[in-house]
Symmetry: C2
């Protein structure tokens, strides 16, 4: 937005945390806000969020979901209705106590999540099985006070997200919804964001407060720590009972409804930085990049400038007809070199250089952000070839991240190995576990690692990592954000 | 969403206010929330908001604006920076005083509008004229405690809106932005919503708190009261000075920036109801209707059912290729008559009946929501003809509303006439005014009418309505929501 200082000055391998913050701010994805713990989503970051929005919104609509909007403020009495849920959220609730000069009779919570306020309405709306399934989604922001450590996109006192809240006739139907959404999230994260994920269930300790069970998608960041990318919960009848969401079934009897809820947030933008970014800044996969190609003109005199400008505009419109998002950087106050750095910092997947020599040779020079490779691309069939190269970049980023994930997933034999590998290499440590929460707690206490996911289908191969008793689950452990 | 009781039971002419509320809730646009003064935007209402969003979002992007997101909570000290602005909003601010168990060192205001929090960032981002214009927009919700009377869409303690906040080098450039946006809003409101508007400036008394001047679009509701449909403000340098938004100009000197802000909200959905609705419920103009056409099958036995079902699906897909939004109501638990009422209540612009007789005659029966007219439409060129009829409906709704507006705009000679006509006929009373706020205040005190707009170009024809001294302005007065 404003003229910038030199590029990224911190190396990713040197100080991951400071590097991350520098990329976020210098690439102008986000800025710190004056209100402590809050951030501003800047236009460039917002445009990535819009790409995520478009994908999710169109897919959930195609599967029968509709959007709605529920109030930001929730009466305390309502938030308290599901006791476990309330206990889980209360430490981080922002409380509204006054309106204007007057004190409110009842405190209002700034929405930490919408289960309670939505389900109060659902109870009124749902009467018969004919009203089911009710498939709603809300695009909004939630507020959860982060008093201690904050980190842009990953841990802030407010974040943008979508929260789906659906109601069903049976547990089985709800299970299907939960898994359908998990698959949709996986498609977004793996195919658009080029970030491979591990999926599975959360343990009782780690599940959403109030859920029957939680399914999750977990990815590995560039520093070997795990990040929860999205969750999809089967809430069972845990909310329908206190909120009295009942329906007259096909059997003419009254039943409590079954419910699912699911969400992804702007933290996915943080993950993009932490997975694909490098010492030059952000690296965006083409399918999620708001600007896929930037054209930089190169010239040394006015005649060349005229010729180059005309050709650059031609190239831009040719690529636009192929539905590519192309920026032409004709700014006069900056040198080509400055522009190269600037767009590299912003992670634009491909740069096209157009200079007099390129024009004479009947080509353009394409530079890949992911590899730095320079490729001449001839005029004939240019748009198609450039689309192909963008496809290669997309695949390469996924493959790189996938290799990293595989190399940082270690099958663990015993607890000593676990304690050795965790600080040294990080990543996911795959081990067998007895399902006893005491072991889980102890491991966290002693190593800082939590169980990120219990994979849906993996066979136990040994006894419990911690207590040595028979194990019934495979667990992915990691230190996590 | 749930099985409904009989249709609208209150007549519009009888009790406008109760009729309005009944249409809102029975057409499932919105529902009251458990939190007093708040409402839930239900899926059907949300889908109208999405149409408004799509139009505005694409147009402002085409004119160079970008979206961003600023925090919901604003520190009190920041809100206080522009004194007039703070004084204007403070009676309706929701104050956050606690986070979890702890009391906050400084109270946080739930965003009543984002000028202050945004401009704090703008001051950091803007350094040179090269950073200008800064053209940003935010889609969010704002919270303003409505303690007294609330009315869904029109006056609630929270509403969805968009707020544009732009920064410019000069007053003239800012004036142009203000008028460009006003035109864009007019296009939305007149061409899509089919609601004619009066445009003009607000008086000093009625302008946005903190603005240099406010421009407005004002429409007339079905009960003769005015509704402010949207505003576009030139903020002058009123915020740039306290917030220190300065830039190095082309003249190498430092200048305070010029700013505009502008917004429309979900109240436009309320206006749709109040302008076009009738005793059967909502009437939606085709260009804003989420469902433009509903197909209702009519049959008396299983053979007919099969035939009708096949034909109805054919018709649906034929119309969809013409990019029409078409619902096929194949619900079996309801009679055709029940469905007719239901879709009329929801304001779907056109119903298509498909029965055995229609099929034999090689046609469908089209029923217009606006006139009730039944028209046979033959199979050849059906989609085109139906598109044409939707165009006629759009035009007819606008024309009807325009005629109503014209018939309820009265040019006033003297104050006695003003006082006679206002309670009897309502609408806009056009009069000459001396620009003195005392006259404006007295008229409001004595009649309840405020100046809704000073039209951009109308010639004064007499002395001031109230004091009889020379007038320099034409003013549109009305009782307003």
């Amino acid at each position: 937005m404003s003229s910038k200082d030199i590029g990224i000055t911190i190396r990713k391998a040197q100080n991951f945390s400071d590097w991350y913050t520098q990329v976020i701010t210098k690439a102008e994805l986000a800025d710190y806000s004056v209100a402590k713990g809050f951030m501003v989503l800047m236009p460039y970051g917002y445009s990535i969020w819009e790409k995520i929005y478009e994908f999710i919104d169109s897919r959930i609509k195609a599967t029968g979901h509709k959007n709605a909007y529920f109030p930001t403020l929730i009466p305390e009495s309502l938030l308290k209705k599901e006791a476990e849920h309330f206990a889980g959220f209360t430490p981080e609730v922002f409380w509204v106590t006054h309106a204007g000069e007057g004190e409110l009779a009842e405190r209002l919570a700034a929405r930490p999540t919408s289960e309670t306020i939505a389900y109060h309405s659902y109870a009124k709306w749902i009467k018969s099985w004919r009203d089911l399934p009710l498939l709603l989604n809300y695009w909004n922001s939630v507020l959860r006070a982060e008093i201690t450590a904050t980190r842009p996109f990953i841990r802030t006192s407010e974040f943008l997200w979508q929260e789906g809240h659906t109601v069903h006739e049976s547990k089985e139907e709800t299970d299907n919804e939960v898994m359908m959404i998990l698959d949709l999230y996986r498609e977004l994260i793996e195919n658009l964001l080029a970030i491979p994920v591990i999926t599975g269930k959360k343990t009782e300790r780690e599940k959403f407060v109030g859920a029957l069970y939680t399914t999750t998608l977990e990815a590995l960041m560039g520093d070997g720590r795990a990040l929860q990318m999205g969750t999809s919960h089967n809430l069972g009848q845990n909310f329908s009972k206190p909120f009295e969401i009942k329906f007259l079934g096909r059997d003419e009897k009254e039943h409590y409804a079954w419910q699912a809820s699911w969400g992804i947030s702007w933290r996915l933008i943080g993950a993009l930085v932490m997975v694909h970014g490098d010492d030059k800044g952000l690296v965006l996969p083409p399918r999620i990049a708001p600007v896929q190609v930037v054209i930089v003109p190169i010239f040394f005199n006015d005649d060349e400038k005229k010729m180059v400008d005309a050709r650059a505009r031609e190239v831009q419109s040719e690529l636009q007809t192929e539905k590519l998002s192309v920026e032409y950087d004709s700014r006069e106050q900056f040198t080509p070199g400055w522009k190269f750095n600037d767009w590299e910092m912003k992670g634009v997947p491909m740069r096209i250089e157009v200079g007099p020599r390129d024009i004479r040779a009947g080509k353009v020079t394409v530079v890949r952000r992911d590899t730095g490779e320079k490729l001449p691309v001839g005029s004939a069939g240019m748009a198609k070839e450039i689309s192909n190269i963008l496809g290669l970049i997309q695949n390469n980023l996924f493959k790189k991240a996938k290799t990293y994930l595989e190399e940082h997933t270690t099958k663990i034999g015993d607890y000593q190995e676990f304690k050795d590998i965790l600080p040294e290499k990080g990543g996911f440590l795959k081990a067998c576990w007895c399902s006893n929460q005491q072991c889980e707690d102890k491991i966290k206490e002693e190593t800082g690692a939590t169980i990120r996911a219990i994979p849906f289908k993996e066979e136990v191969w040994s006894n419990c990592l911690y207590c040595g008793r028979p194990a019934d689950k495979v667990a992915y452990f990691a230190r996590a954000y």
